[in-house]
Symmetry: C2
Subunit: 345 residues, 2 copies
Amino acid sequence: MKEDKLPTIKEIAKQLNVSVSTVSRALHDHPGIGLRTKMRVQKLAQELDYEPNQTAIFFKQRKTFTIGVVLPNLKEEFFSEAINGIEEIAIQNKYSVLISQSKDEAEREKQIITTMKNNRVDGIIVSLAKHTVSYEHFIALKKYNIPVVFFDRVPTGPDFNKVYSNMNSGTREAIEFLIDKGHRRIGVLNGPEEMKSSKERTETYKQVLVKKRLKIDLGLVASTDLTREGTFKAMEALLSQRPKPTAILAINDYIALDAMLYARQQRLKINKDITFVSYANLPITSYLETPPMASVEQYPFKQGAKAAEILIDLLKKEDKPAKPGDPETFQNVVINGQLVVHSKR
Amino acid sequence: MKEDKLPTIKEIAKQLNVSVSTVSRALHDHPGIGLRTKMRVQKLAQELDYEPNQTAIFFKQRKTFTIGVVLPNLKEEFFSEAINGIEEIAIQNKYSVLISQSKDEAEREKQIITTMKNNRVDGIIVSLAKHTVSYEHFIALKKYNIPVVFFDRVPTGPDFNKVYSNMNSGTREAIEFLIDKGHRRIGVLNGPEEMKSSKERTETYKQVLVKKRLKIDLGLVASTDLTREGTFKAMEALLSQRPKPTAILAINDYIALDAMLYARQQRLKINKDITFVSYANLPITSYLETPPMASVEQYPFKQGAKAAEILIDLLKKEDKPAKPGDPETFQNVVINGQLVVHSKR
DNA sequence: AAAGTTCCCGCAACCGTTTGCGTATGTGTC
DNA sequence: GACACATACGCAAACGGTTGCGGGAACTTT
């Protein structure tokens, strides 16, 4: 009943009594093929609904036109926004996107990278799992000529392509904003210490306080492992300081939300007894009755798009004969975070 | 400098002075290969870091071990949860997942399906764009032997595999819940009329009211196109009814949040002047000070997982010789939504 | 010792497409 | 009518791996 056999180039060739190479060339508008046969071929291809078998092409060309994306999860709007950026650029360049979640587990991340490598994705975009400390599995990709671009959660060291937002200026703005509002005891709800950004945040925090001639109290800096429980614990630690902090800078909007939840449980009025400022500026906060007073926008869409651009550029360059003497260079794009103030008072 | 050449089966064969077929079989633990050579081959493969070229295998086996997932967007937690379910099952079965967003545009959806078809994904899981009305591009996949499983936003008609949650029982529960709480004027914030679920919701709404002997006022049923503006408009319409509704059943949590936003702008107190009940029961609501009073849980993870299971089952069956007489059958799995009450009063 | 078995392994085709190279036919030139 | 030259197409190899089949060597059987 069903004809089961998909039309191939061979099929067309047979029906038209020409060779497969002629068909192939005709379909690609190769100049060496006469107009007459070119037309005949294209017409029949139309009629048969011929579509080239991409797997064959991938195999032959040693290219899959697929880029892999590995990120901690898809639930956070930051990442799904970033994917939008990636997809946008990918589609424009006729690339497909293979997405996988590390679930913030280093082991799983490694596994995913291996799979992607074997599937011969052309390149990979990564936002690291929160506890990833070893980058060997990424370095190993070099042997396979698979370029990697990191974004947001990027590794330290110069030997990587990366796109990330510079928290420092945003952090500075955020803290100065709070100080301007009269806050003197400002808590920091920081991420795990393995994350590069965590250290930087603490650093900038100290710098601003010094500059503003305020006392530094490291009891006001706490780490959460990004789980709700971890955040609650960190909040508990922060709120037990005396005098209590009147404002808190949280590593991202989700953590801020968890922190608010805890604060409410402690009968604190948000934006009155305690003020929050965080990072990311996610749409989710627009739904809230009491959003963080300000948020450092990190432009996830832009980050994703930029990472994709860099990757695709690399892929295009790869086709060209690399000049032998060329030292390998790495892109390092910094997108400045910017403080967005949500509420006036 | 860099050896550029990836190790292949040929390479191993040459180094060991055996044929490629022997190597291939040795690596697969084929019984027809002697223990000695099997060991030698496997050892060398190890040393060379040999990894089979999947693209070659895909091509040869006419199978890619990839399933495509098409859904409206990744931003909604419902969908990202569903993906988690899909990924879970996929990984267990050694499938990769190719994700693409239709952005709720029928045209883009069609485009994606075409690309996936050409990329020879083994099967596809789809949640329809909100205005998709023609299913031809899906039906066309049959010719390519690519099975499709729909979830959540499923097409009407019996000729499709689908997994969706039965809103009716949930809707019934939700409305009865509101009536029990004393509400008599219950508004419905429904989705676009193209969506099957919208019609059903209205239907069930009417049934319950009839059963409870309440007057039906269709002015209390409004449609939103799922954008924030659309929802505001619909809310405006609902709130202009007299007497005003005291409770609103919203098509999903996001819409409920938008609606609340509007209600607050109108100086209505949530859960006091006006009560919301919605669908999905997303984690996002756990962050809210005033979450919907109740929500119909739709088990996105389960839906995704189930869809993936069905698809993979189909793929496995495909390998087996299909009995010619067999009429094609379609799975139709219904997951009952269940009302989850958030706040007591 | 010849015949039959069993055990291992190699040969070669195949999947669908691309592409370098060779060649038949046609065109133009003197 | 012999020559060069372009034009239009075919041949065949290659990409990397899988698999049916066939066959040589070693071993068992009678």
